[in-house]
């Protein structure tokens, strides 16, 4: 079928597919086994306005010790993808097809009880807003000992000791004292650290972080991301980092999957995708991001228009209505992910990919509003 599916097992077999930038030795990615394999995942939401395909055939694999960035704008399906990995898609949504293999287990086949044991232990999630994720009438310690009791059977002093260790591990000062704090007594960054402590309590193989720093200030965001990197290096877990911030992706991910309207439109090692974006949406997105090193007042690149409604997706490429290079083929025929040649780990779904030279040209063409 699509070339990605054919080659995905090859990747997981240990073929090193590092991009140029990953040679900087940021992590040991590429060496681990595939721990999470998602194929053709589909999630639909039945709404009054019709059927919304929130996730429409998403395929990716995650290896031990690597960080995969799932990037996209609001409504592109990245959060729904994360929730469906835990089989907790909110109503009125449901998983409509595809397969999720985690540690050799087919997550679509196992019982709800088995799934519940996996959630929060070997497969953990850090949600976006730590304030609503913590129970306001439970102390940080109560949250931790609860998880330790349910998944590891730890109680009493053993649980307290382990909880203190975990708090210390995520960089909370005076961990023993902080166990007795209620969520409202902790700052935003501290709450997120508690969430991380909860997530790593049972040594997960895969940690899904859904916009873990969006609710935080810039200086605190840097602290939390540093912590996640460090934990990943120490434990060798795989990290699925969901974010809309391409800067975070550049600094903390090994591979990237760009989503648009429920589909992965491009996936590649992080150095590849930033140096040579092929899909027109990826290229546009990269050109849109304000950068500190290109500070010139009034120079912008914009992608015109807005994404289509998920209930009324066009038959062809969902990005066609906003794409300068779109042709009738794009509007009628939906492109599938296919290899770009090159390193062999770069896939994109575009009929008219931006060439290397072209991408730079597009950036140069960023219109001047002033001057």
């Amino acid at each position: 079928m699509t070339s990605l599916r054919d080659s995905a097992p090859t990747n997981s077999a240990g073929k090193d597919a590092r991009g140029p930038a990953s040679a900087s030795g940021r992590s040991s990615f590429g060496t681990g086994e595939t721990v999470l394999d998602v194929r053709d995942l589909r999630v639909v939401f039945e709404t009054r306005r019709g059927r919304a395909r929130a996730v429409d055939g998403v395929t990716f694999a995650l290896r031990a010790g690597e960080t995969l960035g799932l990037v996209g704008e609001s409504g592109c399906g990245k959060t729904v993808t994360a929730l469906s990995l835990l089989r907790s898609v909110p109503d009125p949504g449901r998983i409509d097809g595809g397969s999720i293999t985690f540690d050799g287990l087919d997550l679509m086949r196992i019982s709800e009880g088995q799934m519940a044991r996996l959630r929060g232990s070997r497969l953990a999630l850090i949600p976006q807003d730590p304030l609503t994720a913590l129970n306001p009438v439970m102390t940080a310690g109560a949250h931790l000992t609860e998880v330790l009791g349910v998944h590891l059977g730890l109680t009493g002093a053993a649980a307290i000791t382990r909880a203190t260790d975990l708090m210390d591990r995520v960089g909370i000062p005076e961990p023993r004292k902080r166990l007795d704090s209620y969520p409202h007594q902790l700052s935003g960054g501290m709450r997120q650290r508690v969430m991380i402590a909860l997530a790593i309590a049972c040594n997960p193989h895969v940690l899904i972080a859904d916009e873990p720093t969006t609710a935080l200030d810039a200086t605190v965001q840097a602290q939390i991301l540093e912590l996640l990197d460090e934990l990943k290096r120490e434990t060798g877990m795989a990290l699925l980092l969901i974010t809309h911030n391409l800067g975070i992706v550049a600094g903390h991910c090994d591979r990237v999957a760009v989503m648009y309207c429920g589909r992965v439109v491009e996936t590649a090692p992080v150095g590849e995708i930033f140096a040579h974006p092929h899909h027109r949406y990826t290229a546009g997105l990269l050109a849109c991001v304000p950068r500190l090193d290109r500070q010139e007042k009034g120079v912008f690149f914009t992608i015109p228009g807005t994404p289509p409604e998920l209930t009324a997706l066009p038959p062809g490429c969902a990005f066609a209505s906003r794409c300068e290079a779109a042709t009738d083929q794009c509007r009628l025929d939906r492109p599938d992910l296919q290899g770009t040649g090159g390193t062999g780990a770069h896939f994109m779904a575009c009929w008219h990919p931006a060439g290397v030279g072209e991408a730079t040209a597009a950036r140069a063409a960023s219109t001047r509003a002033r001057g």
Binding site: S24, A218, V270, C288, P290, K297, P304
Partner: protein, 338 residues
């Protein structure tokens, strides 16, 4: 854009102190929060001053206090040389026509029960601009200016996406043909591709109508794209003020340096080689700010002096102001070197 002209907006030593609700029969609290504590900003006609800081630093309150939408405890705000505090309520109403605001949350800033036509024509009605029969035409003109179709007229805010709502908010703000607009985090709630559209619209409008902006944001990268001069705020005070080029190329205050270094670059090559100043801890509570320099609890180079003595905002070098005892001496070297 010449340096000789008097500023359009001149803010001197602005202070906004809030009283926290307390106990007691009539709910008079004792604790007061110094949300804005002696801020001075001058903006020349046609220029944009960026105001950056983390949540709770008082940047939004500053913007609102300038428009007299927050109670001012001290200091003065002048528009074109006229002190706003001295205006009669009628004159203040007329002055409001010249100063407008665009909000962060495009979902909260539009009355959900009014149509776009009602929302955008309201300023015309309030200030009695245009004859009633001509107002609809003017509303159409405004919608076209912000890039919305005329078919939006009879629709309600909930029928629009975030970016489109922000356009409606901008149309409302420019309806009175103001001179000065406070942009209170106008793109923070929007997606990257939409952000760029709105920023570009704001710049186009600035050029077309010679608007003067106070651009409030928490994202240094965005502020840099919009501003001529940038002020960095921390716990109610401006800690650094400089032209855009100067601030981004050689920040003087350690907080500015940390803030800049916390901004991730969308470039893996730079990110891999970059050394970061990662601050420990978080912003202290504005109810009980630390004594001396507010930043000393998180400052990597704080001295004993910083813990007791409040540093004044002083000119470190030509046109660069920083509120740091050490600015200009030890800090000459850029942050990355340490």
């Amino acid at each position: 854009m010449s340096g000789s002209t008097a500023p359009l907006i001149d803010v001197q030593d602005l202070r906004v102190h809030f009283r926290l609700p307390g106990q007691g029969w009539f709910g008079r609290g004792k604790l007061s929060v110094r949300a804005v504590d002696g801020v001075s900003i001058a903006i020349r006609r046609g220029q944009t001053v960026g105001l950056v800081g983390e949540s709770g630093c008082g940047k939004s309150t500053t913007g609102r206090a300038i428009l007299r939408l927050a109670p001012i405890t001290g200091g003065r705000v002048s528009l074109d040389g006229t002190d706003l505090a001295g205006l009669s309520s009628d004159a203040m109403r007329r002055a409001r026509r010249r100063m407008q605001i665009v909000f962060q949350d495009p979902f909260a800033s539009l009355n959900p029960r009014h149509t776009v036509e009602q929302i955008v024509s309201e300023p015309l009605r309030v200030h009695d601009l245009r004859r009633p029969a001509e107002r609809l035409g003017r509303v159409r003109e405004l919608l076209e200016l912000v890039g919305l179709p005329a078919s939006s007229l009879g629709r309600y805010p909930h029928e629009f996406s975030g970016g489109q709502r922000q356009r409606i908010g901008i149309a409302r703000a420019i309806a009175t043909e103001p001179d000065f607009i406070v942009l209170d985090e106008p793109v923070s709630a929007l997606d990257v591709s939409i952000q760029a559209q709105i920023l570009r619209l704001l710049l186009d409008l600035q050029m077309q109508f010679g608007l003067t902006y106070l651009f409030i944001a928490h994202d240094l990268a965005v502020v840099g794209q919009m501003s001529d001069e940038v002020c960095v705020m921390y716990l109610g005070r401006i800690v650094e003020r400089a032209s855009r080029e100067a601030l981004y190329s050689s920040p003087q205050h350690p907080y500015t340096q940390a803030l800049l270094s916390a901004v991730p670059y969308p470039d893996p090559v730079i990110e891999a080689t970059r050394r970061r100043v990662i601050l420990t801890g978080e912003v202290p509570s504005p109810v009980a700010p630390p004594p001396g320099c507010h930043f000393h609890t998180r400052c990597p180079i704080a001295l004993d002096r910083c813990r007791v003595e409040v540093p004044a905002l002083r000119e470190v070098s030509d046109g660069r102001f920083a509120a740091c005892h050490l600015a200009g001496s030890v800090l000459g070297a850029p942050a990355e070197a340490r």
